[in-house]
């Protein structure tokens, strides 16, 4: 078995490590500007609203709706060959930032814009904990 079959893993920086630590605890964390309160994602050093670099990490509810999606049939990386086809969702989170994650728990034929979903957390082998999304019950 070659490393080519291993999924790519993130290489966090000092700016982004808390996001990954949050996922490992089952929390979806984003940055909130300490000066103007604006949420920002993905993690980065500066608030684009007021240019403050002071921020704190806040946990989101994990509730959101489907903004768009793609069903990935061709595995462009050997690490994803076994699970293809897989669905990548773009999600509008309730708090106003977006997230991406694979779909779990439903046939993609039933997807539509605005469908309500909720985050869940998955770990494969020794890999990082990653966000996935499931349809809200009911």
């Amino acid at each position: 078995m070659s490393d080519a079959f291993a999924k790519p893993v993130p290489r966090p920086s000092e700016d982004t490590q808390p996001y990954w630590d949050g996922l490992a605890r089952g929390e979806l964390l984003v940055q909130r500007c300490k000066d103007c309160g604006r949420l920002r994602h993905y993690p980065r050093p500066v608030c684009d609203g007021c240019w403050s670099m002071a921020h704190e990490w806040v946990a989101l509810s994990g509730h959101g709706t489907v903004h768009s999606w793609t069903v990935c049939h061709h595995p462009f990386h050997l690490g994803f060959k076994a699970q293809s086809p897989y669905v990548l969702l773009t999600i509008d989170l309730a708090e106003g930032v977006r997230a991406m994650g694979q779909l779990r728990g439903m046939d993609p034929a039933g997807l539509r814009l605005g469908l309500k979903v909720r985050v869940d957390f998955e770990r494969e082998g020794e890999g990082p904990v990653l966000p996935v999304f499931r349809p809200e019950a009911g």
């Binding site: 790519p8 993905y42 793609t70 990935c72 049939h73 990548l88």
Partner: protein, 392 residues
Amino acid sequence: MADSQAHGGGLFERAAITGIGETAYGRGLQQGSALSLQMQASLAAIADAGLSPRDIDGVIPVATGAAVAEDFITNFGIPDLRFSATTPMGGASCVAAIQAAAAAVASGICRHVLLPIGRTGYSGTRIGARVHEMPQFRTIGEFELPLGNIAPAQIYAPMARRHMELYGTTSRQLAEIAVTTRQHAILNGNAAMTKPLSIDDHQTSRMIADPLRLFDCSLESDGGAAVVVSSAEAARDLRQPRVLVMGVAEGHPDSPSVITQRPDILKIGLGKAAPRAFAMAGVKPSDIHVAEIYDCFTYVVLRQLEELGFCAPGEGGSFVEGGALGLGGRLPVNTHGGLLSQAHLAGMNHIVELVRQLRGHGGAAQVEGATLGLVTGYGDMGDGSIAIMRRA
């Protein structure tokens, strides 16, 4: 200068494309390294202009390409290179380089800027598989690559899906773009794809990243292409009919490094660049005779047609129906076969083709009477660039 003020000033008709050059295009032609391919195309473009390689005093290599400015000094014996730059915008780079080159010649820094590209995208490492090595992909490399968002087809597919869900755009409408582009590649002759393509061929091709099928995707190619951008004054003395740059611009979308976080994921940088280029040129979309539109994916052509103002947002699907983009259609597009069917030269081949059309040298694919046209670039998550040109 009076004209320049009337048209919004800037770089209006301060530069001309004076030389064009191409190698044979294909897949696995084994005709040389990426470096030698762009040297070959560059020498052809310089000869086409009627210049000596030593006349080149500016060069804008493609940022992620196989050559740097030093290679051209060394290989061509350039005595005094006065200007070098890169415009790292992925597929928008080549047309954005026209803006940088036009600024350089208009300011008097230099007179003749070479824009070269050469790649072995088929024989060498596939470009689609190594985008994450580029620094502008750092964000999705950390946050989305581990989720399986790997290649451009997957990265752009959610834009196409949302367009379909909001506006009713269909895969058959995307097929129209692929089919027309293939017809043009066959007319051109120097193209990787030489067999006719039908709507059904497209509809039965395998799904890559829904809604994008195989024939919605561009090629991985081997080849080289180059153009020479000269000051409008210097161009008067050269060999070919002058093709003047009337308007040129680049644009960067909000959240340029990651589409997921873009407030409106349908927005692209061309939406900012196109109005500026049209204002500089003093023309409107209905004046355009031929358009060479960056076509890494069929959907990307459709969306750019909307942002260019050829139709309203959401109406791209109906706009392209019925062979509208073919010769004799309402707007002939990608008359060389584009990245979809000629070769993926990151759009340098689109610039070459626009100049060829405006010179009246389009051969079997010539748009009759074409004297005014435009070319676009698109890349790196939606950066955009545009140049509007006319034959003097």
